[in-house]
Symmetry: C2
Subunit: 347 residues, 2 copies
């Protein structure tokens, strides 16, 4: 008798999460929403507590050859804040667990926490817990963010309706191309340690990779403008993958227009230089940490003058699938490649 | 000019936490209690949300040579539940993040989650989130537990008053000696892979190490008996270390009596066999996950018949420090050795 062995990459991360979440039944009445959205919801009476937790592992999610520890601390908090934002909620607290080997000094730990602290100040969250551990090998980070949402304003991945307008904030694909530049410079450095990295002309996209924003500004503005999105997700794995999540959550298809996708000039130029199509970077690159959401058509009026919200498409019948109208006018299916860490390591 | 480099083991974990928490000011009114207790408190209106987060790293906190994955999943949840219990609160949800390399199969991940699920059922908590990641090397776990506490029943490390009675649940030192037995059997196995481990006579203490309890039963009973401890902590780093935390938190000294310390017969016998003093194992061993708490003298009556709560000493003036009255009648100072992972690896 041999035991069955299924390789992890046969399933991938989403497959694993599906297998785990299927067995996770909720028994406490306070547990309003469990696995499967950007964050979980706990009923606290007149509001929801919103909870998100993510791990960042050296060699998988980041490379200390080009990520300064301070930026890493900032990013670890920001990406969890982004998950709270994606529920249309406001972050209030974070807990940060780290494991670090003895190759790091106390000053290194402090540099990391300076970044954590900078993010806490920027996003107005309190560092309320976490532990520090020795690690046998790499640097390991796990952050939990805690937020608060009004019950009538919380937004899930489900909830979009046919013909709702698909919106995305900021611009896409830059973080991925920024990572490609950092990788290239690392290889140059390894081949010739005397070379200094040439990053000036890539400052914007490198910044997108190292110091993601987490669009709390948008969440505040939506509240001020009286708009509640019908569905929302943050763009962590690439637009294509996130469109699939909204599609799956809402039981509808999505249609976006290539010429509406917001791309920075530096993203275009660097994509051209590196031979990577900028649209592909936007669809499959990931780590932009912008917000992708849907609104009712009648809310378009309230948002149409917003400089940083872009209307890229609309929900459609599920039979039509997830499609993109190319610049040439062709309708093509979107692939949900995303970044599956078991298949494709970032960087 | 040389940059200052301070080695992490010059400070140790507690030193690091102190340095970090000093810089963590709380700005949101909801953030009631931050770093420095078993769990943090978030004000949710008529109750507190209680939050604890802990990391477990392969090679530091556990050795897969003798820890079955199912037990590991159970323990990862239990030790966080224990932190919620230590606030006199009730656990409701957990989030579990893991990083696993490709040497693990999907079946291995599932075995781990079976343990997580068994703990969730046992402690009546819901698995509401978490992510699965590839790991470059070892197995990495980070669990966040979320609990709920009535505002007038929450208990911190601070709050003990002079002459309050010090209580501890269950028995101490067993988990540490169980670990020593597992380590010894591993060495025997490595020297002679044909040998089968001999663990029958150590079943209780090995169980203490592999499958800690988290004393939610005690929290329910204290509620039923109408007793609110004046201070509380769980015994994760050894009784000595926890007494220091209560002492520091409450601004008082502690006095315990060696002959009152609860020790199981197997702990005694194994300590004798291995040449480790059972009292030393109780004071410095750690991982018992029992509850250490103080009560007012007038509450003694309500608890005195409880079979699993032991009255081991009392709070005293801070000038008298933290002391133990030995079986021989000598008063000796207690050392807060605990388990500092930067100094001394477990196992």
């Amino acid at each position: 008798m041999t035991e069955k062995r299924t390789e992890i990459n046969e399933l991938g991360e989403f497959g694993l999460i599906d297998r785990i979440s299927k067995t996770a039944e909720l028994q406490n009445p306070e547990s309003t929403l469990g696995i499967g959205d950007d964050a979980a919801l706990v009923d606290a009476g007149d509001h929801y507590i919103v909870l998100s937790s993510d791990m960042l592992l050296e060699g998988i999610h980041f490379d200390l050859a080009y990520v300064p520890l301070q930026h890493l601390g900032y990013k670890a908090v920001a990406i969890n804040v982004s998950d709270i934002a994606a529920m249309n909620a406001f972050p209030k607290q974070v807990m940060v667990n780290i494991g670090m080997s003895n190759r790091f000094s106390v000053e290194a730990v402090e540099a990391f926490y300076q970044g954590v602290k900078a993010a806490c100040e920027n996003f107005k969250v309190d560092l309320i817990g976490g532990d520090t551990n020795a690690s046998g090998s790499g640097f390991v980070i796990s952050v939990t963010a805690v937020g608060k949402a009004k019950k009538d304003r919380v937004v899930k991945r489900s909830g979009a309706r046919d013909k709702d307008i698909i919106c995305v904030t900021g611009d896409l694909g830059g973080a991925y191309l920024g990572l490609q530049v950092l990788e290239r410079e690392k290889q140059v450095f390894l081949a010739n340690p005397g070379m200094q990295p040439q990053l000036e002309k890539y400052d914007y996209i490198v910044g997108r990779q190292l110091r993601p924003k987490a669009r709390m500004d948008i969440i505040h503005e939506l509240a001020e403008l009286g708009v509640v999105p019908t569905s929302m997700i943050d763009v962590s794995d690439g637009l294509g993958s996130e469109l699939f999540h909204l599609s799956k959550g809402s039981g509808l298809g999505t249609q976006v227009f290539e010429d509406k996708l917001p791309l920075d000039q530096q993203t275009y130029d660097t994509g051209y230089e590196l031979g990577i199509d900028a649209t592909t970077a936007a669809l499959n690159g990931g780590e932009d940490y912008e917000l992708l959401f849907t609104i009712r058509q009648q809310d378009h009026e309230k948002l149409k003058l917003h400089a940083d919200i872009h209307f890229i498409g609309h929900m459609q019948n599920i039979k039509e699938g997830n499609t993109m109208v190319t610049k040439g006018g062709n309708v093509i299916p979107i692939q949900a490649q995303g970044w599956d860490h078991y298949d494709t390591k970032r960087g």
